[in-house]
């Protein structure tokens, strides 16, 4: 069968459909692997309810949990199983009564045949389009050896396919009883994992179709599972005009020879309190004036503080939010993984045609998101930024450096190679007075002004002055008044 003839059916979980590029291939069998508590049964429930929504007949063969327990668990997650047919083959509680236990024959001789008969009778009577078996590995206990188990599974899968059903089944894996062999017997494998870094889902095997590779983020909540596919930057793009995005402050635009270009990544670097967020927000304020939408992810400040602070310097954040020109998301520590965060950003950009994305700041991003280590986080940030570039989004990354004044350092996050533009801000001490300077260190798309300019944050907004030609050694943090300027001054 050629790929064009393959019919794909929804798995019932949107993000998983995206990873599988449309869903499961109909009339095939799929293995769902994962430790207890990873969400296998929930995924299976959603798979069945998607069938119900498509007017299909669906069958849940439960071999471990009772049907009543499954229905109860589903209802706590708002999953409606009322139109799902059940074949309850869970061990009856009577088994624990001594009269019901036996040792005269092996379980494979006593239970396998009635079980197989029960399944085939039910399948033939309701003719399901979808079957979910949870867990199939229980058959392992009902077969005399591994060879018999494999034979039984293969025969069972063939039988269900001949009946026209798409089959999803779970397995239970342990050191004593590996389920590795099951992967060879099915058309695809979905793996669920749950670690301290969060829940992930991956698809190591999928016969007949390509899939989005990688460990994708997952969350269990009301309604079932939410899957957040990892971004593949090269798979997304949209056409956009390469033009400068003005800051709205002529002096800043002069520094940047026009502004920041669309589809570029800029780092605003500087020590605490210097005004990085304010400079970034200024670009978003100007974008709002042009009728464009921006989104800001705050990792280091609360929305309330940010709004109040912005209000006092003539940046009307609240009004911009009310007009839909600005979305501010306060990111809570360990709220999500880097993959989930990137997916959220992607949805925001694609659903709201957002033109500026600001991440404030990189250190907070690395601290707040659950993931293995800094390298993984930086790689994921890199991937997100490349995606945003392809989509023509102007990206502003706020990067705090530790030194307040003194030896110059552009960024500390190891991400400067990401940046098309680096704008740095510095505290200066000039003759005992604290002042601030702004300058451009790097700009890939055009030339830029090599001088520094003084800037102030006032109640009327950002004020940027003329180039600081009268000062030397500004980057040291303790600039000296240039001889000529000194002479002029004295004279």
């Amino acid at each position: 069968m050629s790929n064009s003839q393959l019919t794909k059916i929804s798995t019932g979980t949107t993000g998983l459909d995206e990873i599988l590029q449309g869903g499961f291939i109909a009339k095939r069998s799929y293995l769902l692997r994962g430790d207890p508590g990873t969400g296998k049964t929930i995924l299976g429930m959603k798979y069945l309810t998607a069938g119900v929504e498509a007017d299909e007949t669906v069958l849940f063969v439960n071999l471990e949990e009772s049907a009543d327990d499954i229905r109860d668990n589903a209802s706590t997650l708002d999953i409606d199983l009322s139109d799902v047919h059940f074949l309850d083959l869970s061990p009856d509680s009577d088994v624990f009564v001594d009269e019901q236990s036996y040792d005269i024959f092996t379980p494979s001789e006593v239970e396998q045949e009635p079980l197989t008969t029960a399944i085939t009778d039910r399948v033939e009577s309701i003719d399901p389009d979808r079957v979910f078996i949870d867990p199939l590995t229980r058959l392992r206990h009902l077969t005399s050896d591994e060879y018999q188990f494999r034979k039984q599974v293969i025969a069972f899968m063939h039988y269900l396919k001949e009946q026209g059903a798409t089959v999803l089944f779970t397995s239970q894996h342990s050191d004593e009883s590996s389920d590795d062999d099951l992967q060879y017997m099915t058309d695809g494998t979905i793996e669920l994992e749950h670690s301290s870094h969060g829940r992930t889902i991956s698809v190591p095997k999928f016969r007949g179709s390509s899939v989005n590779e990688g460990d994708h983020a997952m969350r269990i909540g009301q309604g079932g599972l939410s899957v957040y596919p990892e971004i593949s930057p090269t798979e997304h793009s949209r056409s956009f005009e390469i033009e400068s995005v003005s800051s709205g402050i002529p002096e800043v635009d002069e520094l940047l020879h026009g502004g920041l270009e669309r589809g570029t990544i800029s780092i605003l670097s500087g020590p605490t309190g210097v005004g990085k967020t304010t400079v970034g927000t200024q670009f978003m304020k100007e974008a709002a004036g042009r009728g464009e939408r921006s989104v800001m992810y705050m990792f280091e400040e609360t929305l309330e503080t940010f709004r109040e602070r912005s209000q006092t310097i003539n940046i009307p954040v609240k009004r911009m939010q009310e007009q839909g020109a600005l979305e501010v998301e306060e990111m809570k520590p360990l709220d999500c993984s880097a993959t989930e965060f990137a997916y959220r950003v992607r949805k925001e950009v694609e659903e709201n045609d957002t033109s500026i994305v600001m991440i404030d700041g990189i250190d907070g991003y690395k601290l707040s998101l659950r993931d293995d280590d800094d390298r993984v986080l930086v790689r994921k940030l890199h991937s997100l930024c490349r995606y945003l570039k392809n989509m023509g989004v102007t990206v502003i990354l706020v990067d705090e450096i530790d030194t307040i004044t003194g030896e110059f350092q552009a960024t500390e996050a190891g991400i400067s190679y990401l940046a098309d533009n680096i704008v740095f801000l510095r505290h200066l001490e000039v003759t005992g007075e604290m002042r601030k300077a702004i300058g451009v260190l790097k700009k890939r798309t055009s030339d830029f002004e090599r001088s520094l300019r003084e800037f102030k944050i006032t109640e009327h907004g950002l004020k940027v002055g003329e180039p600081l030609t009268e000062l030397n050694s500004v980057l040291s943090g303790s600039p000296e008044v240039a001889q000529s300027a000194s002479g002029n001054h004295n004279g």
Binding site: S101, D103, I104, F105, E109, V110
Partner: protein, 125 residues
């Protein structure tokens, strides 16, 4: 023999007896079951047509061997079943007339073949 041969089954576990009876009845035999010595004694007292006894000895006291002697005295062949059969138990069973001793779990086909063999032995004698 026009009528089905009667097999008397003794065992502590009801489910074992049910499964055993199901298998034997499918094989064309009549089956009477007893889950304790009292029932067993009563059956032996009232039925003089027992062709074979299948004794699952697990869970019984040493008294079980007295029942074996009674069966042997009445020339009723015996098949003994146990989860483990140490040499001392095998010795006891054989010395009291048990024809065959099988370790549980038994293969259904093996058990059917063994019973057929015992019935043939009875018929020949």
């Amino acid at each position: 023999m026009g009528e089905a041969a009667l097999i008397l089954a003794l065992g502590k576990r009801e489910r074992n007896l049910e499964l055993l009876a199901g298998l034997l009845e499918n094989g064309g035999y009549d089956v009477e079951i007893a889950t304790n010595m009292g029932e067993f004694d009563e059956l032996l007292q009232h039925r003089d047509d027992v062709a074979l006894a299948v004794l699952d000895v697990d869970g019984f006291t040493e008294d079980i061997w007295k029942r074996c002697e009674q069966l042997n005295n009445r020339d009723i062949p015996m098949l003994v079943l146990a989860a483990q059969i140490p040499p001392a138990m095998r010795q006891k069973a054989v010395s009291r007339g048990a024809q065959t001793i099988l370790e549980k779990p038994v293969d259904k086909a093996d058990l059917q073949a063994t019973i057929r063999g015992l019935m043939e032995y009875i018929r020949m004698n």
